[in-house]
């Protein structure tokens, strides 16, 4: 287990470094002059030159990248070129909003999708299974931003049950939860269908395996077989999916953050790219990449706990 974790940790660091390096090269390949964008139309050449020096853009790209990593080791992610605030402060200020959204979306999606998929598998080819299949594919196919807009129109505009914008009042958990309902619904809806179908397929496969047949032959209760043996293995692909899906959820949360006018790291990155605010882009992507790697590592760890074969290295 420790060797597993050590190997995964080393791989995680390597992934982050490669991702950040690739991003750095990409954002410098995008056309656009950050000084002109940042300083606006009235900037003089002297002002632009000074900003270039201040941002380190007068250095070769590889020097900039080396400086970036050196600064990271000192906990310095740079500063926002507009507000002069620390990037780390900005990123970790925005990140909780996105994490709350992602966690909420995944949680409700999993809480509904897993039982739904399990039930469908146990009652395969029944009307319920067919209906959930159709609905699942339907929800998967609808983009999250479409769900967002229509849920707004229904629940905020027409029914006026839920707030349309914002993230709620700080310090007021009920307000924040109220403002989280629609965004989480929009982001998570497609995942309900996806998780449901995945669990169903996985359950059907596991239910046909040798050890399940043996358990049935020994006369173990069906509920035991389903939830203690079958589901424990059938859930593995879903756990992996959720871990890998963090990246997708971040992009989905971007749309939710725009449509619902919520703060969050996706919107932060989007705005920063548009304005060539390189330090914020780099810092935010570093954190999100780290988040992704942590999520996938945790997923592997959970899988290892659930499946003894993984712990044994087989």
């Amino acid at each position: 287990m420790w060797l597993f974790l050590l190997r995964r940790s080393g791989l995680a660091v390597l992934i982050v470094m490669l991702a950040v390096s690739a991003l750095y090269l990409m954002i410098h390949a995008i056309p656009g002059d950050p000084a002109s964008i940042i300083l606006g139309p009235r900037a003089t050449d002297e002002m632009k030159a000074a900003l270039y020096i201040k941002m380190g853009l007068d250095q070769p790209v590889y020097v900039q990248l080396a400086s970036f990593f050196a600064n990271i080791l000192q906990g310095d992610l740079g500063y926002d070129v507009f507000s002069q605030r620390d990037v780390s402060e900005i990123v970790f200020e925005q990140l909780p909003w996105t994490l709350a959204l992602i966690f909420s979306a995944v949680t409700w999606a999993a809480l509904i999708g897993i039982p739904l998929g399990c039930y469908s598998a146990l009652h395969a080819n029944t009307w319920f299974d067919t209906l959930t299949g159709i609905l699942s594919v339907g929800t998967i196919a609808i983009p999250s931003f479409v769900v967002a807009i229509y849920s707004l129109l229904i629940f905020s505009v027409t029914l006026q049950w839920l707030p349309a914008i914002g993230a709620g009042e700080q310090g007021d958990i009920l307000s924040q939860l109220e403002h989280l309902i629609l965004p989480a619904f929009a982001v998570g809806l497609g995942w309900v269908g996806y998780i449901s179908r995945l669990v169903r397929a996985s359950m059907l496969e596991v239910m046909g395996s040798n050890h399940i047949r043996t358990a049935k032959a020994f006369g173990l209760p069906s509920r035991w077989i389903t939830f203690r043996y079958a589901l424990r293995l059938a859930i593995l692909p879903t756990v992996t999916l959720l871990g890998v899906g963090i990246g997708y959820l971040l992009s989905a949360s971007l749309f939710a953050e725009i449509v619902f006018a919520r703060p969050g790291i996706g919107k932060l990155i989007f705005d920063a790219v548009s304005t060539r605010n390189y330090p914020v882009v780099m810092g935010a992507v570093l954190v999100t990449t780290g988040l992704f790697v942590i999520a996938t590592t945790l997923a592997d760890f959970v899988n290892a706990l659930l499946d003894p074969r993984i712990r044994a290295g087989r």
Binding site: G32, A43, S83, A164
Partner: protein, 523 residues
């Protein structure tokens, strides 16, 4: 008529200003006739604030907030005319071409115990903005400020290096003209969005990055108490999201998209109304003066004549925006009543010009910002120019890429510009527009690479011209020169459609921008 309005707003006689100052002073003595409402005003901004330090501001939203929390010597009145009036100044007078004498009202207090506003605060604020590193604030002063001479506790003289008339509409009455407390600033060293002291009717209660700015009533304000207990300025990028928020009751005022204007006019959301204001922005089709394909002026003119502005307005602006005659909007000094080339296309003339130039099968690129209105306009232009045999290929760009297309500092892409659909922001002084198109702005903001010695001379001279009618004619002539070059087909100033709850009496500039200190509950 426009000239008279501007002259009325900019009249500089001592008598007029003293009368205005007296009237305002008397008005302040009248008891507030109704109790201030305790309501919260929910407004929308398309972008987050950048800095509430007047010498470091970046965008119009910064000024929207600063206008509510600070004071200026003079400021633009709410209403439909571009006129300013005294605010912190009891009087202000231009005594000669380079000296402007002012006297502050007594008793204007800064919040948080930072005392009374004095001429030293004016000096500190103006010199810091004019001489600082921020390009926006420094440019508003145009390099003209020599110093602010303090002559008494409440009196001073703004001393200019050269005559600089944009001062009145730009430096004094806009963002860089906000006065901050010297003492408060020095107590904190620097600030961005948490001002240490305010002199306006509101103070910043809280700034939530990427979410909102919350203003609350300033208990130390010297004038009438603010009408609202709080104002929440919500950052909502997308107009459709803002509309949904308005329709769901989460907003009291917001700009809406052009595509929604008709429905909001015919069936406004519950308890609301639509108000459409003429914007100051200017939109044009740029034709690269120096591009080899377009060097023949007849080719450029052909493109001008083939571009049917009414078609664009109908398709892209749903008939809600007016054709522009230049880069200076109606109501402003320098506005031209008519363009040299009518807005309607003249296809026959365009074809004749191309034939005369011996050009056929011309293929051009049209660069455009990837926003719906812009892309639609580009597509209309594409269709229009095809009628005269010009094939147009549209290049869409995201904002970060588009806004540096013409910049020589940003690479070599400026050399490839042929046609470009552009839109610049504006403030109510013609200088702010024309300065973008002088020869020295080639490779900066003059992406058409237009060059005219007469234009450059006029742009310089107009800054110093004290005679308003002469100044007006100068800017009109400048736009003639732009149009005659063949590099510009002026399209529109757009419009500023606002949805406003009937419970709100909005205080707005003529272009619809909010003056939050003048918002109050409707009776």
């Amino acid at each position: 008529m426009a000239i008279n309005k501007i002259q009325q707003g900019l009249r500089l006689s001592r008598r007029t200003l003293l009368i205005a100052g007296t009237a305002i002073g008397l008005n302040l003595m009248v008891p507030f006739s109704m109790a201030a409402s305790d309501e919260i005003l929910q407004s929308r901004s398309y972008v987050d604030i950048t800095s509430l330090d007047p010498s470091n501001y970046l965008n119009a939203v910064d000024e929207d907030v600063m206008g509510a929390i600070y004071s200026k010597l003079i400021y633009f009145k709410p209403g439909n005319k571009w006129e300013w009036e005294l605010q912190a100044a009891e009087s202000i007078e231009q005594i000669d071409a380079t000296h402007i004498k002012f006297k502050l009202k007594e008793g204007i207090k800064f919040s948080n115990g930072f005392g009374e506003m004095t001429a030293e605060d004016v000096k500190f604020s103006f010199e810091r903005a004019a001489f600082g590193e921020n390009p926006a604030a420094a440019a508003d002063w145009g390099g003209a400020l020599e110093e602010v001479e303090v002559t008494g506790k409440y009196t001073g003289v703004i001393v200019l290096k050269k005559p600089y008339q944009p001062l009145w509409n730009l430096a004094l009455s806009y963002a860089a003209g906000n006065i901050i407390s010297k003492k408060a600033y020095e107590s904190v060293g620097s600030f961005t969005n948490q001002p240490p002291a305010s002199s306006g009717p509101y103070v910043v209660k809280e700034w939530r990055p990427k979410q909102k700015v919350i203003l609350e009533r300033n208990p130390d304000y010297y004038g009438e108490p603010s009408a609202y207990k709080e104002i929440h300025i919500n950052q909502i990028d997308d107009e459709k999201t803002a509309e949904i928020a308005f329709e769901s009751g989460n907003l009291d005022v917001t700009r809406i998209s052009m595509s929604s204007v008709q429905s909001y006019r015919e069936t406004p959301p519950n308890n609301s109304q639509l108000q459409v204001f003429p914007s100051l922005f200017y939109v044009w089709l740029g034709i690269n003066f120096e591009n080899p394909k377009l060097q023949d002026p007849r080719v450029r003119q052909a493109i001008q004549y083939a571009t049917d502005v009414p078609s664009i307005l109908q398709a892209s602006y749903f008939g809600e925006a007016e054709a522009s005659t230049g880069i200076i909007a109606p109501g402003l000094l320098g506005h031209r009543e008519q363009s040299l080339i009518p807005p309607n296309a003249d296809i026959a003339k365009a074809k004749a010009l191309l034939a005369e130039a011996g050009v056929n099968n011309l293929e051009l690129t049209l660069d455009v910002l990837n926003k719906a209105t812009n892309v639609t306009t580009a597509q209309i232009i594409q269709a229009l120019l095809s009628q005269i045999g010009i094939k147009v290929n549209i290049n869409q760009h995201e904002a970060g890429s588009f806004w540096t297309l013409g910049s020589e500092k940003a690479g070599e892409r400026w050399k490839n510009i042929e046609l470009i659909l552009n839109r610049y922001s504006m403030v109510p002084d013609p200088y702010y527009a024309t300065v973008n198109f002088i020869t020295s702005q080639k490779g900066k903001w003059n992406w058409e690479r237009f060059s005219s010695a007469e234009f450059d001379e006029l742009n310089e001279a107009a800054q110093a011209e004290l005679d308003l009618e002469k100044r007006n004619q100068m800017y009109q002539r400048m736009q003639d020169l732009m149009e005659q070059s063949g590099s510009y087909r002026f399209i529109t100033h757009e419009a500023e459609p606002l949805a406003i709850r009937n419970t709100v009496a909005a205080g707005l500039r003529p272009d619809g921008r909010p003056l939050y200190r003048h918002f109050k509950p409707a009776n």
